[in-house]
């Protein structure tokens, strides 16, 4: 009887465990090479966050990379993820509002730089609407003005390609390819896009010196910028209204698109708020802001100096703007140059050839 009740308890435990809302971890397959990418201390992050349902492996990353650069996922066979997220521009496209999606219509947002995303835990997209990479990828993949993919057709295409079929089978061990596997593979690749080898990182690691100008710029950055563009990732991963607009029109067909994070949270404090973009690789990621309205860093600094639109949701740090002398501006811009990671760019560039 005692054994029986123990067994009962144990069964109850198993049941409770199986019913818990936590994700069931995937079973790690022996023929797959799981790994944790090397993380520089200069990113100031703890570990490498990844969902238990999608553990990074060499094979998964290779498949995700192939999918990322494959225009056949789009409905006209011409647009890949890399069309808007080109490695040589730190995974941006250099355009304010691109029209190179399938429909040829102009988008409403500028393509954000996509690296160091494993640590972007508080929402992806400019307004944070996507909970994780796995969910995000369906956005650009299916949006009619981006890749316009029909997910069933994507799966059919992949099923009919022997190499893809074999790769998916190995990594996910399911009989059939499903849309969830497609986005998981792409997410694995994206999590390995880690920019951490800039001059700044070498300076922090005492491997290289800063010029006096860069050093001055760093101090100006610390004083004026670091509360939002927090050192390490150079973003606080949060959302702020940085005074771009005083009002936010809301045509119903755009579903609150001009309202920033408010469209996601319905919190008045988030009106006009967008994600703090990283300053890493900022020389490569012009034009700037969620809609690419500023072509140059000078225009950005002009905005912070003279252009702040004050309203109720304005970030408190910006109420009196950021005033810099011409010399200070030069120093700050020199420091920002030290955040360009040419090793990262080269590493991912040659893979596209």
């Amino acid at each position: 009887m005692k054994t029986f009740s123990k067994l009962f308890l144990f069964t109850g435990f198993i049941l409770a465990w199986a019913c818990s809302p936590e994700e069931d971890p995937i079973e790690l397959a022996p023929e797959i090479h799981y790994y944790i990418p090397k993380i520089s201390h200069t990113l100031q992050v703890a570990g490498f966050p990844q969902p238990e349902r999608n553990i990074t492996s060499e094979e998964g990353v290779a498949l995700g990379k192939k999918l990322f650069f494959d225009p056949n996922l789009s409905s006209n066979g011409k647009v890949s993820c890399a069309t808007c997220h080109s490695p040589e521009l730190a995974f941006t496209d250099g355009i304010n509002l691109a029209d190179h999606g399938v429909s040829g219509k102009k988008l409403h947002r500028s393509a954000p730089a996509i690296f160091n995303l494993a640590w972007q835990s508080d929402g992806l997209f400019w307004d944070g609407g996507a909970h994780d990479l796995e969910s995000l990828n369906f956005g650009p993949l299916t949006h009619s003005d981006e890749m316009d993919a029909n997910l069933d057709e994507v799966v059919t295409y992949l099923e009919n390609d022997n190499e893809y079929k074999q790769q998916f089978g190995l990594i996910f061990s399911e009989g059939r390819i499903e849309s969830a596997q497609v986005t998981r593979a792409i997410s694995q690749y994206l999590r390995t896009l880690i920019s951490q080898d800039s001059k700044y990182d070498r300076w922090k690691g005492k491997e290289e010196g800063f010029t006096e100008l860069e050093l001055n710029g760093y101090q100006l950055y610390q004083k004026n910028c670091s509360s939002c563009h927090r050192e390490g990732l150079f973003t606080d991963r949060s959302f702020h209204n940085n005074g771009l607009d005083s009002e936010y029109p809301n045509p119903p067909e755009l579903e609150g698109l001009y309202q920033g994070r408010y469209r996601i949270t319905s919190n008045p404090e988030d009106m006009g708020a967008y994600k703090t973009p990283t300053l890493r690789n900022i020389y490569l990621t012009a034009p700037y802001m969620h809609d690419g309205r500023f072509e140059t860093l000078d225009e950005v600094l002009d905005h912070y100096q003279n252009g702040i639109q004050v309203n109720e949701s304005l970030a408190s740090q910006l109420t009196s703007g950021i005033s810099l002398s011409q010399n200070e501006r030069e120093a700050l811009i020199a420091f920002l140059g030290s955040l360009t990671d040419s090793i990262f760019i080269k590493q991912h560039h040659h893979l596209t050839n």
Partner: protein, 240 residues
């Protein structure tokens, strides 16, 4: 000879056990079928015009929704059957039934289910089965599922123009759980439950919707979506 005796013994055993056929089998088959009704008539898409509770006309074009977390309860004994991984996309032009398969036998007298997708499953979209985003029920800019989609056309009472009506109701606050009592379910007897989705209920009780007077005929988020969800939380899906 020995074999024959064994056979006879075995047969008598069988007969003996079959004499006790009043004994209830451990499991029973259970399925649910749903009928869609508007203005007392069977729903049809893309053609037929129906009358809404407000008296306005409406031609439905798309109607689908999630039924999830199906539970059967015997309130007398406390026995319960919870369907695992219970997410069902029901649509007028697609699937309108839920097969629970063989479930433990009991005199179930309560059916509980939810309209929508629970918070955990609604927090990601890389999912399979009826939650695969290929069904056009996942939002692509705001992670989560549309719980209920109704689209169609009506004639604006003021302008006389034909106008589109779009209801895409989702978000965790609009996830609603419904409990219905059952009668006549007997332990061991295979059962087909009939449910009715009455679309009139989306437009009334407690919140009356006059579609001609809506500020926006696209109802997706905010207050109006919440009102529709209140309407579907009671009386929308009932056991026939």
């Amino acid at each position: 000879m020995k074999n024959l005796i064994y056979t006879a013994l075995f047969s008598s055993l069988l007969i003996f056990s079959s004499c006790k056929d009043e004994e209830i089998p451990a499991t029973m088959a259970m399925d649910l079928t749903i009928e869609h009704v508007l203005d007392g008539q069977t729903l049809e898409l893309n053609g037929k015009s129906f009358t809404l509770p407000s008296g306005e006309d409406f031609t439905p074009k798309k109607f689908k929704y999630y039924i999830s977390n199906v539970v059967l309860t015997n309130s007398q004994t406390g026995e319960m059957f919870e369907e695992m991984d219970s997410y069902h996309l029901i649509s007028e032009d697609g699937n309108k039934s839920i097969d629970l398969g063989m479930i433990p036998s009991s005199n179930y007298d309560q059916l509980t289910f939810s309209i929508g997708v629970d918070e955990v499953a609604n927090g990601k979209t890389d999912q399979t089965g009826d939650l695969d985003p290929n069904s056009d029920m996942a939002w692509n800019w705001n992670t989560g599922y549309k719980f209920l989609v109704l689209e169609g056309e009506f004639t604006n009472a003021t302008s006389g123009d034909r106008q589109g009506l779009v209801m895409h109701i989702g978000t965790n606050g609009n996830f609603k759980t419904v409990t219905q009592s059952l009668s006549g379910v007997r332990a061991g007897k295979s059962t087909s439950l009939m449910l009715i989705s009455n679309l009139d209920e989306l437009f009334k009780d407690p919140n009356v919707l006059l579609v001609s007077e809506l500020e926006s005929t696209t109802i997706m988020f905010g207050e109006m979506a919440g009102k529709v969800a209140e309407n579907y939380s009671e009386g929308f899906i009932t056991v026939k």
